[in-house]
């Protein structure tokens, strides 16, 4: 994974963060990500993120569950082992409804959670870079990726003017890797190659 440089602006309030996101985007800077301690509604739109398709995935998993349940039960009771239970029909659809419903829900829920973890790259022992330890507490953190053309001082001043309380430069590895949060982050200790090299 590439080691990259970021300018990180910490905001105290989401009301300041919103116009700042807009200003930064208008100025043409590339926002790597914004980290918030709770979901800030509308921030995804402000950042220009696309809507998630997780719902669609959930629907597909759901109908997979429905089909699995119905086809399995019908096959078992009509073909594999057509047992006579109290003279009841071999294909009692009303009696199949509860299990069909439960499997629909089960497949959908489990599938969606796994997809969510996959898309967000979340799993036990996954360790990601934390720009500010208080981004999960009360700070709203905007990380802007630096390119060769970025004037760092200008960007810092720009962020301060936009309302960031504390602006500084950080080096971080993008993407993810496995790691433990109790160990020191090795990226900070690595010498960083100059950006223009």
């Amino acid at each position: 994974m590439a080691v990259k440089k970021f300018v990180v602006g910490n905001f105290e309030d989401e009301a300041v963060l919103f116009p700042a996101v807009k200003k930064v985007r208008t100025a043409g800077y590339k926002i790597h990500d914004v980290y918030t301690p709770f979901p800030v509604h509308g921030l995804d739109h402000a950042l220009g993120l696309r809507e998630t398709s997780l719902h669609t995935a959930g629907f597909i998993y759901g109908i997979t569950g429905t089909t699995t349940a119905l086809s399995c039960m019908s096959w078992i009771f009509t073909t594999d082992w057509p047992l006579n239970i109290g003279g009841k029909p071999h294909l009692p659809l009303p009696a199949f409804i509860p299990i069909t419903f439960e499997l629909t829900v089960l497949f959908s829920a489990v599938g969606m959670v796994l997809t969510f973890c996959y898309l967000c790259q979340l799993a036990p022992f996954v360790k990601k870079h934390i720009f500010n330890p208080r981004q999960t507490d009360d700070k709203f953190v905007m990380a802007i990726e630096l390119t060769e053309k970025t004037n760092v001082e200008e960007l810092k001043n720009f962020l301060t003017a936009a309302g960031a309380k504390d602006v500084h430069e950080q080096t971080a590895e993008t993407g993810w890797w496995l790691g433990r949060f109790d160990r020191d982050d090795m990226v900070f200790n690595k010498p960083v190659a100059p950006l223009n090299a």
């Binding site: 709770f38 809507e51 399995c72 009771f77 509860p98 299990i99 089960l106 433990r180």
Partner: protein, 478 residues
Amino acid sequence: MHLKYESTLREPLVDGVKDYHQVTEDIIRPIEAKPGKLWYVGFFISLTLLGFGAFSVFWQIYFGVGVWNLNKTIGWGWDITNFVWWVGIGHAGTLISAILLLFRQGWRTGVNRAAEAMTIFAVMCAGQFPIIHMGRVWMAFFILPYPNTRGPVWVNFNSPLLWDVFAISTYFTVSLLFWYSGLLPDFATIRDRAKTKLRKLLYGIASFGWTGSTKHWQRHEALSLVLAGLSTPLVLSVHTIVSFDFATSVIPGWHTTIFPPYFVAGAIFSGFAMVQTLLIITRKILNLEDYITIGHMEAMNKVIVLTGSIVGCAYLTELFMAWYSAVPYEFDTFYKFRAAGPLGWSYWIMMTCNVISPQVFWFTKMRRNVMVTFVMSIIVNIGMWFERFVIICTSLYRDYIPSSWSYYTPSWPEVGFYLGTFGLFFTCYFLFAKYFPVIAVAEIKHVLKTSGENYKNEMVKYEEESAEKFAHDVAHAH
């Protein structure tokens, strides 16, 4: 023209003037501190109960189901009573977290985490009863449909008991996923505040590497909403299916179409009562009165009086139908054996606890009184336990053949098993209260600005200013 819209402000969901950091401090501090004496006392009592329960279960498995006082007439006793009761307890958790999320009820944020935990522990307790009741517990995997080596022998998909297997296991899985996905951001908060290496490691593993990225939050919200949408019919289906265990049979007192809605209402009724019991203790011990407010308790008490009245209505409907249908067996079950037979005392305990006493919650003063709520929550739980006991035992103890009529009292392993599940439930809850954030930190922060004390003060100030401005404008217009 004097047209001014006046809105009465809602009660704040978070008392006291707080900022985001203060919320984190208040909720996470108990996790970082050493547990108090009360915690140890409670935890060890729970462990003792759990131990006794384990011994009772061992005794039953070793000697067989015969050590229970079940007989040919009463084949289901305390075990299934407790199963249905525990499943019912679990329902409030999903109701609070899923249905109230869909209905955009802000007050759920203070209580949802603990209620969901309660759901999971209650379902864990419930599931044991039918499994242990099988007798040969090591054969429990026979209830799962899978291709096997015993020839093409499959489970009976027509049986409500098999529907239960699917319903309860799906319910448990989905509740667990819902609960845990909500916990990820809060675990990350604890991880990032952690001072010790061990805490950082454990919460680092538990938080799955959550960072609070906007994209992650967007997906997380989508996930929660769809899981809520899935859990809402799920929670209704689970107790409906549990009620089918009875309703699809031909036993007088069981064979009724009112069972599904009546069981669901009863489940929510007892579930909310258990949430009240737990949260009143939790808020007191962990000093969370600002987050679990009297307003929260009042809202839950309103649900209790509503569902309690639905349950009461169902009891009366059953009595009416027993008379109106003119089926002698039904009539005898309801009027002779339930209300007046040898087990009639249980029927009247049920009526008093479930129908009469919750009516005190029509009075605002009672709804907002912590002591009354606490006592009522326990009464309701006792009442709902007796409801299940009445349905099962008073329908079975007088069957179609008078020669097989009998009476039923539990044996010590039955009581021990029930106490053991209390032990399990409270052991889990104590561990939860110590190591997990009992209130959803991120969700509280989300509603803080729009329904905290700060917001309320600002709104009052704004209203006063605009009223002054209005008076000023009116005075100058003339």
